[in-house]
């Protein structure tokens, strides 16, 4: 029983970090209708900014975290300006965007291989990882609880932004129909920049927690594949779907690790992807194709 509770908490914690990544990825997908494979790069950029400022300037975690969020957000905006906008302005074919994003993903990864080196780095112990006893029921780490709480805070903030603000409304409208949103007097390029900034910043939060969990290295962004799977299971382009899919995935991974075998984790994850695509290709919350005209 204690193991179960512990694994459920670990699963929710891991899932909530996936959710931070999946939500940004899904947000970009909902607006531009392509899978941004450079999304993992934003996460790595956030991780390295956090690591670098902690190490060289000795800033606190709050300062370093804020810098990481801002830096990854700006990097995402820059990526869109440099690599995607020139394509967007010439064609509606999203396949080119997909290919450009694969290119950008390789570029970002290799920048860090060259600049920071390929070795694994541990973040200074700024995030407590001490074990915590939950009312005698189970033992888990403070880190897991912290990442769960942070993810909830950031996802809550995103939800507030989308539902309560003028630009949030515009983003929801654009997610349904970008062209018509432009017709409403929305500066579409600015809107896309805002979306990339938000996606990059959320990825950085995920990046910081993942670097504590798995250490930091240039290929850490590859973990985004899990967030992609989560987004597909939840329904591409749907934000609640991305969150629910991520939690399911985190739980499945941790329960598999706890009760079957740690090596089976990825097998379970990708089986879930295959089953989703076979049974309900639009995912749990995906848009069905037929809309009333």
């Amino acid at each position: 029983m204690a193991t179960l509770i512990q694994q459920v908490i670990n699963g929710l914690s891991l899932g909530s970090v996936y959710a931070l990544i999946a939500v940004g990825y899904s947000l970009v997908y909902s607006i531009l209708l392509f899978s941004n494979f450079a999304h993992g790069g934003f996460l790595v950029i956030g991780g390295y900014i956090c690591y670098g400022t902690l190490r060289t300037f000795g800033t606190g975690i709050w300062m370093s975290g804020a810098l990481a969020l801002a830096g990854a957000g700006l990097a995402a905006v820059l990526t869109e300006r440099l690599a995607y906008r020139p394509i967007r302005e010439r064609t509606n074919v999203t396949l080119y965007l997909l290919i450009a994003s694969m290119g950008m993903s390789i570029v970002i990864e290799n920048i860090f291989v060259i600049v920071a080196g390929g070795r694994f780095r541990a973040l200074p112990p700024v995030i407590p990882t001490a074990p915590v006893n939950l009312m005698g029921l189970a033992t888990t780490s403070a880190f897991d609880l912290l990442s769960l709480v942070s993810a909830v805070v950031f996802l809550g903030a995103l939800q507030l932004f989308l539902s309560k603000t003028r630009w949030g409304l515009a983003i929801r409208a654009a997610a349904y129909d970008l062209r018509t949103a432009g017709l409403m007097g929305v500066n579409v390029n600015l809107l896309i920049s805002i979306v990339f900034f938000v996606a990059g910043a959320l990825a950085a939060v995920g990046g910081i927690f993942l670097s504590v969990r798995y250490t930091l290295y240039p290929q850490l962004g590859a973990i985004t594949i899990k967030a992609f799977v989560a987004a597909v299971i939840g329904g591409l382009g749907s934000l609640p779907g991305a969150v629910v899919g991520s939690l399911i995935l985190g739980l499945a991974e941790m329960l598999t690790a706890g009760f079957i075998s740690s090596q089976m984790r990825d097998l379970v994850v990708f089986s879930m992807l295959v089953i989703t695509l076979l049974v309900k290709p639009t995912g749990l919350f995906g848009k069905s194709v037929s809309e009333k005209v």
Binding site: R166, A170, Y176, A181, L183, G185
Partner: protein
């Protein structure tokens, strides 16, 4: 009322050319809309009517020629065109299906920011289309076609345009609903909004408008007061169903 009097030209399209790749959609189209007028552009499928609307809104590139609003050239970016005072109710309505009626209307007022008059205009739109008020919290995708058309027009009005553009407001609607909507269009015009509409439903459009233009494969082939166009034998034959209405209709 005849709009060609001494009033000011509000919207002017001058020698507009638009192409899609090798296909020329508009070749040198010009038109004028005077302040307070309703002008209709009629033409069959593929004549370039929607392209004309999209080119005014800068949704497609204006290859050659200019569009002026009150003497100032309209910008080449859509959001700036809206800020300058032109808004469009697009063909096929294009309401934001997963947003509520209220959110759709707020989207229409997007460029106005925190303008305190937005709430007044919301009430104005609801007075024009009371059905929308009844369905204020409903998702736009669940509305009937006629209600969606009302929403699309209301949404465009929320930008407080100097000129309201309407692309096929009658498309796919039952005749009785078309009549309702066109009645409201007249009322909107009476309250000071200048209207330019393009329509395949030539009779309805000409009955509503003061002046009309006939667009044919990218060229303006005729223009004049709407009554004259309605009475014109060629136009009757081409666009109004062969001159005499079929029995039982009219």
């Amino acid at each position: 009322m005849n709009g060609t009097g001494e009033r000011n030209v509000l919207l002017e399209v001058k020698d507009l050319h638009v192409s899609y790749g090798a296909i020329r959609a508009l070749s040198g189209v010009s038109l004028k809309v005077y302040e307070g007028e309703i002008v209709s552009v009629i033409g069959s499928n593929g004549a370039g009517k929607s392209t004309l609307m999209n080119a005014i809104m800068a949704m497609v590139r204006r290859e050659k020629g200019d569009v002026f609003l009150g003497g100032a050239a309209l910008e080449a970016r859509s959001y700036k065109v809206v800020q300058q005072g032109v808004s469009l109710s697009p063909e096929g309505r294009k309401v934001f299906a997963p947003l509520t009626v209220l959110e759709n209307l707020k989207m229409g007022a997007f460029p106005r920011g925190k303008d305190s008059k937005v709430d007044e205009d919301l009430e104005w739109v609801f007075s024009l289309f009371p059905r929308l008020k009844e369905r204020i919290a409903q998702y736009a995708g669940t509305l009937s076609g006629g209600e969606q058309q009302m929403l699309a027009i209301g949404r465009a009005l929320m930008a407080r345009p100097k000129v309201l553009l309407l692309d096929e407001p009658s498309l796919g609607l039952a005749p009785i609903i078309i009549r309702d909507i066109f009645k409201e269009l007249r009322r909107i015009n009476n309250e000071g909004v200048t209207i330019l509409l393009v329509e395949q439903n030539a009779r309805q459009a000409l009955l509503l408008s003061h002046r009309g233009y006939v667009l044919q494969t990218g060229h303006m082939v005729q223009e004049g007061p709407s009554e004259e166009l309605l009475a014109n034998a060629d136009i009757k034959a081409a666009y109004l169903g062969g001159g005499k209405a079929p029995k039982g209709l009219s």
